[in-house]
Structure formats: C-alpha cells, structure tokens
Amino acid sequence: MFGNLENTMKAISALQSAMEHTTGSNWFGGRTTSRGANPPINVFEKDDSVVVVAELPGVNKEDIVIQVKDQSLRLSGKREIQRDEGTSAHRLERRGYEFDRSLNLPFRIDADHIEANYRDGVLALVLPRAAEDKPHTVAVN
C-alpha cells in the first residue's frame, strides 16, 4: 500500500516537471491561436491522439461550444457568477468570464471521433489524428 502512495506522489511530481519543460513549447509551430487567449490549455499526446485540456470551473456543460473545421479547433463559452443581493462580501476573487479561442493544430483530425469530456470543471478534448496524418513506421532492412 505504501508502494502505491509513493508511486502516486512520484507520478504527480514527474508530471508537473514534464509539463514545466513544455511550457510554451513550439508544438503549435510558434502560433497557437487565430483568436483569443483564453482559456489556457495544456496539450498532451497519448497513443495516436492529442488531448487538449482546459480548466473551466463553474461552466455549465451546455454553455461550452466546440467547433472543428479542417485543422482548426474553436472553444467558446462563458461562466457566470451569481452574486446574491444582501450579502456583504469579504473576498471576491472569482470572476465571471467569457472565452473564445481557436487553435491551429499541426495535424489533421479525424473529426468524427473527437471526444469531449467535461468533469469537475476540466474540459478534455481527445482528438484522434486523421489516418493520413498518422506517422508510418518504416522498417529498416
């Protein structure tokens, strides 16, 4: 049991460290967006897919709009904050926000098999590479 706990702790440190090394990397070819800077995203590769993750706390799933066209992916939506009248506020750090961001992906997507999961305020988009854009393994004779 302690072995598992240690593995989890190492796993998160390793993940955070690996992500730090890819901060602002050149994966998008130096130009991620054609529009907007929000929300901040993290991009991962897993098998033949690319996963785009964004933190969108407090957004209603129905308010998230995802559009795909050719190699462009667009994420838009909004989060509203309900503030009750008659309360005295000690701290107001959370903000309502709107977001509208387009990503120019450096590969073609199999648009029919995109998965979008929104759970606990995190949106994860699984984008499978189009078949013609998958790397072909070359055998060495």
Binding site: T8, L15, N42, I81, Y97, D120
Partner: protein, 131 residues
Amino acid sequence: MANEPKNVEVKKQMADEPEKTMPGRFFVPDTDISETEHALHVVMDMPGVPKERIEIRLENNVLTVEGTIDVSHYEGFRPVYSEYPLGHYHRSFKLSNEIDQSAISATTQNGVLSLTLPKAEQARPRRITVN
C-alpha cells in the same frame, strides 16, 4: 453579475508554512467569501478536484480546505505544450465568527466548492463531509 474578459491567469502557488511532507505543488484556489446575517458563504474554484478528494476541517476557528487532483487521469499522457500548471489546492481562513459546525453544508459542482457555515455560539472541532 460581473462578466468581464478574463486575463490569462497566473496561479498563485501556496507558500509552504508549515512545509508539506507530500510532494506535488499546491495552489491557492480563487475564493469568494460573503456573509449574511445567518451564515458565512465560502465558494472556491478547484477545477479537477472531485467531491471525494476534498477535505474540509474546522478547528479553533480556522477553516482549512484541501483538494487534490487525481494524477492517474493523466497516465500515459505525454505533455507536448503547457500553458498552465497542474496541482492540488489548499487554503486556510481564520474565521471571526463562531460557526455551528454540525450545520455546515458543502456541495461541489463543476469544480466549484460551495460551503455554507451557519453562525452560532459554542462549537467543537469536527470533520465535515461533502454532499
């Protein structure tokens, strides 16, 4: 209702005092605290933290909330481009009011934790479960 363009966020990393024994960075969740005649309301953004990974304690008038992310969701993921850091959340508040600890309610939805702390007189330290 304030809806304004959100600037690219910079997460505030928690200062380690006392230092945590657990590795993995902890961040300070954006929090709204408001007060009505009868209760304190605390709302925290903790995206990526599910209900079962939230710990809430109230002892000696100090409210402590800790939320951890499940890193196993990222198993097999290779980072290629990052704009924001990933990590757990932790924040403590010293409350000036006495709270009826048996009546604290907590709910979480879409990564947002809402706590209602009814004001009262005497209270004993107690662990709170999230509904």
